[in-house]
């Protein structure tokens, strides 16, 4: 069978969703952000909610998420996305409102905002990208950086004495009564990415059911920050990040 017989519109089984724009992503090669953006866009397309979805982008690499997912966006101050989302959802209760935040944004400077939005049980979706580093500013230590991990502000490796242990904020979030769904996923493999997509879809569906806050952590690789090739970074993540941040649902009710 010739390739030209296979490559026909009627045989197409996977193509870019129109909810993603044509812009080439500014992310480094192999960055998990791109995969998660795509998953969100696909969920929005499949649920048919492009007109009803408002995204809140953070400060960090994904500040430009609005260039790629073709919906209305608000770009929030560092860490404040959950507060911004709170008002947006309360003033537009029929909309799907989600925040997209990194570990510096959500687990460091925005700790108060995320805790209280989740505790109030705001009917929003939180997508939390945990790659254990500040990517945008050039690879500094994050609250989720592993012990011994070298970053530009922990050049000899994160030390427990100096910096404390990595913050498992998702486990903390799961304790809050306002959250209905708290899960930790990843996107390094096709199987993992498909699971993440199911999780994100469930989170968006929860938001329409007014069940409370749905929180999806995606353990991610920052190969530039980690100074590894994209493939090696994913391997390192599986080996080192997953033991500290085990995958799976932490709460589902």
């Amino acid at each position: 069978m010739d390739l030209k017989d296979i490559i026909k519109p009627e045989n197409r089984v996977y193509a870019k969703t129109p909810v993603l724009t044509e812009n080439v992503m500014h992310y480094c090669p192999g960055c998990s952000h791109g995969t998660v953006h795509k998953i969100i866009a696909e969920v929005i397309e499949e649920m048919g909610i492009q007109e009803k979805t408002i995204g809140i982008s953070p400060v960090g690499c994904s500040v430009f998420a609005y260039n790629y997912v073709d919906i209305d966006w608000q770009q929030a101050a560092h860490g404040r996305a959950p507060a911004v989302a709170t008002a947006t959802k309360r003033l537009f209760p029929d909309k799907y409102v989600f925040t997209y935040q990194g570990d510096g944004d959500l687990a460091s400077i925005g700790t108060a905002e995320i805790m209280h939005a989740c505790n109030r049980g705001e009917n929003i979706v939180v997508i939390f990208i945990n790659n254990a580093i500040y990517g945008m500013t050039g690879g500094q230590m994050a609250p989720t950086t592993l012990i011994g991990m070298k970053t530009s502000t922990s050049p000899y490796g994160r030390s427990e004495e100096l910096h404390g242990k990595p913050l498992k904020i998702t486990e903390l979030i799961a304790q809050l009564e306002g959250t209905c769904y708290v899960t930790r996923q990843s996107v390094q493999s096709a199987a993992a990415a498909r699971k993440t997509k199911r999780a994100i879809r469930k989170a968006f569906e929860n938001s329409a059911l007014s069940k409370g806050t749905s929180f999806v952590e995606v353990v991610s690789a920052c190969n530039s920050g980690w100074k590894l090739s994209p493939v090696k970074a994913n391997e390192w993540m599986v080996e080192n990040m997953f033991p500290q941040y085990p995958l799976g649902d932490i709460k589902d009710r």
Binding site: I7, V13, Y14, Y27, S32, A190
Partner: protein, 73 residues
């Protein structure tokens, strides 16, 4: 009944990260020797006869530059 597949890579968008390569169960994909206008060695179907159209490569592609086709033969 067997599945035959094919992928089309948007070579200008591809950054050559190789995540598709390692996720391909049939070793269909390799990085090209030539580069695109950004200087990246882009992914391509090195062994088209292997492809089953499983969509794993496209699912993990961070830059969404792979389209997948599949037929039953």
């Amino acid at each position: 009944m067997a599945l035959r597949g094919a992928i089309v890579v948007d070579t200008e968008k591809c950054k050559g990260c190789s995540v598709c390569l390692v996720n391909c169960p049939t070793n269909t994909i390799a990085l090209a020797k030539e580069v695109n206008s950004k200087g990246y060695n882009f992914a391509y179907m090195a062994y088209p006869e292997n492809c089953t159209g499983c969509t794993n490569c496209a699912t993990v592609c961070p830059d969404t530059c792979i389209t997948v086709y599949r037929v039953k033969v």
